[in-house]
C-alpha cells in the first residue's frame, strides 16, 4: 500500500426528507446564493423544499448553470456574491451545478484572474465561501469531494481543479429528489460512477486489499442496481443504492493509498470540449479501448477485475482480460450509452487533434505510469472509431 492522507470533512444527510437539514446547517443570519441549473427542481418540488428550509434567510438566486458548467455562466454568480456580500453558497442540482458552485466559492475571495484558479488546477486557492449542496443527480461524487471540472466554451476548454477549501460543508442526498430524472441522465450517472471506480482501481497492484475490495464492491452494486433503477425509477432502495454508490465511488475511500489513472477522463474531457458529447458517454467511448491498449501494464488488475467483478474464470489470461473488457463495453451499451465514435457521428479524425491538445497542455504522458504518449492516445481513439 502507498502512503496516503485521507480527509473528507463533508457532512452527508442521506434519505427522504433530509432537505430540511439545510435549516440547521446554514446560519440563520447567512446571506445565501442559491445556484441552480434549469427548472427541473421547480417541477419536482425540490426548489420548494429548499426554500422552506432556508426560511427567512436572505437568498439571491443564480440559475442557468449548464451541463459542463461554463466559466462565462459562473462569473455573473461571482459578481452577485461580491456585490451582495454573500457568505454561503447553496448548490441545488447535479454535479455540474455543484462543480460550478465550487468555482464560485473559490473565485469570490480571490484577487487575481479567477480563470487562473482553474488553469493551475486549484493550487492557488487559499480560501473559499462555505458551500452546501442538494444533489439531484447521482454521478460525479462532487457532493463529497474537493474536485471540480469547469468548461470555457469560448476557449474550447474543459479543465479540472482540486482544493481542500471547496469540500462541501454539508450535502443533502435525498434519493427521491432524483426520481424525475430522464433515463439518459440516470444512465450517464451510472456510467460516470463506474468509470470513477475503474480509474482508481484498474492500475497496478499495490496490495491494498480493502481499497480493492471496496472498488469491486461498488462495481458489482452498479452492475446490479443500474438496470433496476433505470427500469423502475421510483424504486426507492434501488435509487438510494445508486446515489450512495456514486458518492462512495469518488469520496476518497476507494482511491486512497493506490495509484490512479484518470486518463479516460482527461481524453474524454477533450471530446466534450470539442464536440459537446455528454461526459459519461465520452468515458464509454474511451475507457474500453484504453483498457485494451493497456492490457500489458494493467494485466494483474484486469485479471482480478475479470474474476471478482464479472466472475470470469474460464479461458487463458488474455481471453479473460478480453472478456472483462467486452463485458464492460456491453454494460455501457446495456445502459443505452453507445461506445463508438461513429455512434456520435465522429471519425478517427478526432484522434490526432485530441492527442495534440493534451500534449500542448503538458499532458503528453498520462496514466498511472505516465506511459500514455500522444501516439498511444491517438491509437486508443482510432480504435474507438
Amino acid at each position: 500500500m502507498e502512503n496516503f492522507t485521507f480527509h473528507n470533512p463533508t457532512r452527508i444527510h442521506f434519505g427522504r426528507g433530509q432537505i430540511e437539514k439545510i435549516s440547521s446547517e446554514i446560519p440563520v443570519d447567512a446571506r445565501v446564493l442559491l445556484l441552480a441549473g434549469g427548472g427541473s427542481i421547480k417541477a419536482n418540488g425540490v426548489y420548494d423544499q429548499v426554500k422552506t428550509a432556508l426560511g427567512e434567510r436572505t437568498v439571491h438566486e443564480h440559475w442557468g448553470v449548464e451541463a459542463n458548467p461554463d466559466y462565462d455562466t459562473l462569473m455573473p454568480a461571482v459578481k452577485i456574491c461580491r456585490t451582495e456580500h454573500i457568505d454561503w453558497v447553496l448548490a441545488v442540482g447535479g454535479g455540474s451545478v455543484l462543480d460550478g458552485a465550487k468555482f464560485v466559492c473559490a473565485a469570490v475571495p480571490y484577487d487575481g484572474d479567477p480563470w487562473s484558479l482553474v488553469e493551475d488546477f486549484g493550487s492557488s486557492i487559499t480560501s473559499a465561501l462555505p458551500l452546501g449542496t442538494v444533489l439531484t443527480l447521482p454521478a460525479t461524487g462532487s457532493e463529497a469531494n474537493s474536485a471540480s471540472v469547469i468548461s470555457r466554451r469560448a476557449m474550447s476548454l474543459k479543465l479540472p481543479f482540486m482544493s481542500p477549501f471547496v469540500f462541501p460543508k454539508f450535502s443533502v442526498l435525498d434519493p427521491e429528489a432524483t426520481f424525475s430524472l430522464p433515463p439518459r441522465q440516470v444512465a450517464n450517472g451510472i456510467g460516470d460512477a463506474f468509470c470513477h471506480v475503474i480509474e482508481q482501481y484498474l492500475t497496478y497492484p499495490t496490495n491494498a486489499a480493502v481499497q480493492d475490495e471496496f472498488a469491486e464492491s461498488i462495481c458489482r452494486v452498479l452492475i446490479e442496481i443500474g438496470p433496476k433503477t433505470l427500469a423502475d425509477p421510483k424504486d426507492y432502495d434501488a435509487r438510494a443504492n445508486l446515489v450512495w454508490a456514486a458518492t462512495c465511488a469518488l469520496q476518497g475511500i476507494v482511491g486512497t493509498g493506490v495509484p490512479h489513472d484518470w486518463s479516460s477522463h482527461m481524453i474524454g474531457h477533450e471530446l466534450t470540449a470539442l464536440h459537446g458529447i455528454d461526459h459519461a458517454r465520452t468515458l464509454a467511448i474511451v475507457m474500453p479501448n484504453l483498457l485494451d491498449a493497456q492490457r500489458v501494464t494493467k494485466r494483474e488488475k484486469l485479471l482480478q477485475y475479470a474474476e471478482r467483478v464479472w466472475q470470469i474464470t474460464e479461458g487463458d489470461d488474455e481471453a479473460r482480460i478480453s472478456a472483462a473488457i467486452q463485458h464492460t463495453r456491453e454494460f455501457y451499451e446495456s445502459l443505452g450509452i453507445p461506445t463508438r465514435l461513429q455512434d456520435y457521428e465522429l471519425t478517427a479524425d478526432v484522434a490526432p487533434v485530441i492527442a495534440a491538445r493534451l500534449a500542448g497542455r503538458g499532458m503528453g504522458a498520462i496514466g498511472e505510469r505516465g506511459d500514455l504518449t500522444p501516439e498511444r492516445i491517438e491509437a486508443i481513439l482510432r480504435a474507438a472509431a
Copy 2:
C-alpha cells in the same frame, strides 16, 4: 436503506514515516499533553519519533493508561491539563490510550462531575480539547471515530460514550509502529475489528447494498490477512491491510444507514468489568452464541454472510447458518482466541449476574430489535460455558 447522517472529519496520515506529520498538525505554540500507556513506545522508537515531531513545543506527559482505561488513571491527566493550561492532547498508543484521551479532552472543559459524561453516554459533552493520535495497535477504530469506552474498576463498571466533539483532529497510522506488538494483542485486534463489522452487518436486511458489500469486504480481508500478519509481523503490506481494515471497520462507512446490534459488546464489557478478560476475547465468547441464539431474527443476513464471506453454498438454510457460525468460532480459535467461558476458568454462573447487571442499567432489551431480554442474555452466556 435507512436515513442517515455521515460525518467523519478526522484526517488520517497513513504509512511509513508519517509520525512526522504531527509537526504540521499541532500548532507550534500549542501546550501539549502526551498521553501514553506503558513503555513499549520507548522500546520500539515511536516515542522518539513523536518527540522529534513535537520539536520545541511545551509538552507534559502522562503515562500508565492501561488496557480498558480507568477513570482513576485518567483524572490526574485531566488535572494536569487544567493546571498546565494544556490546549492539545496527543494520544500515543492503542485503542485504550485513545479512548482515555477522548475522555480527558471532554472532561477538561467540563464544569460538573466528569464521570457523568460517561454515565450519560456523552450527551452532555459540548466541547473538548483538540485531540491527535498516533496509533500503535490496530483494533478499536478509535483513531477515526467519536466513541470511547471507559472503565471504573472501583465501581466494576465499563461504559461507552460518544460525542462528535471527540473525533480526533488527525490520526497517524504507521503500520511499522505496530510491528513490535505481542501476537496476543495483534490477534485481539483482528478479533475486535471483525466483531465491529459483525455488529453493524449481521442484523436484518435494509437493502443497503454498498454497506453490505463493504462489511463483507472487511470480513474477507481480515480472514485472509489475520493469519498472514500473525505469522510474519514485519510483512509491511499484510500489517498495513490489517491497520486500514480495522480503521475502516469502525469509522462509519460500514454502519451508516443500517441497523446496529452491539449486544455482543454490551455483554462482553461486563465480562471485562467483572473478570478482567481481554475485550476481544469477551467478544469471541459471546458473539458466536449470540448469533446462534438470534438465528431466526438474523436469518437473512446470516445466510448472506455464509455465502459471501465464507463461500458456504451447500446444505439447507439451517445447515448453512450453522456452518457460518462454526466458521466464525473457528476463525477466533485459529487466532489463538478461545471462545468458551471454561477457557477462562469461568462457568455458567456468570450468566445471571451479567444479565441482571445490564437490566439494572436499563439494558434489559438490547440488540437491533430490542429483543434480547435478560432471560435470553442469560441463555446466551450459559451456552457459552
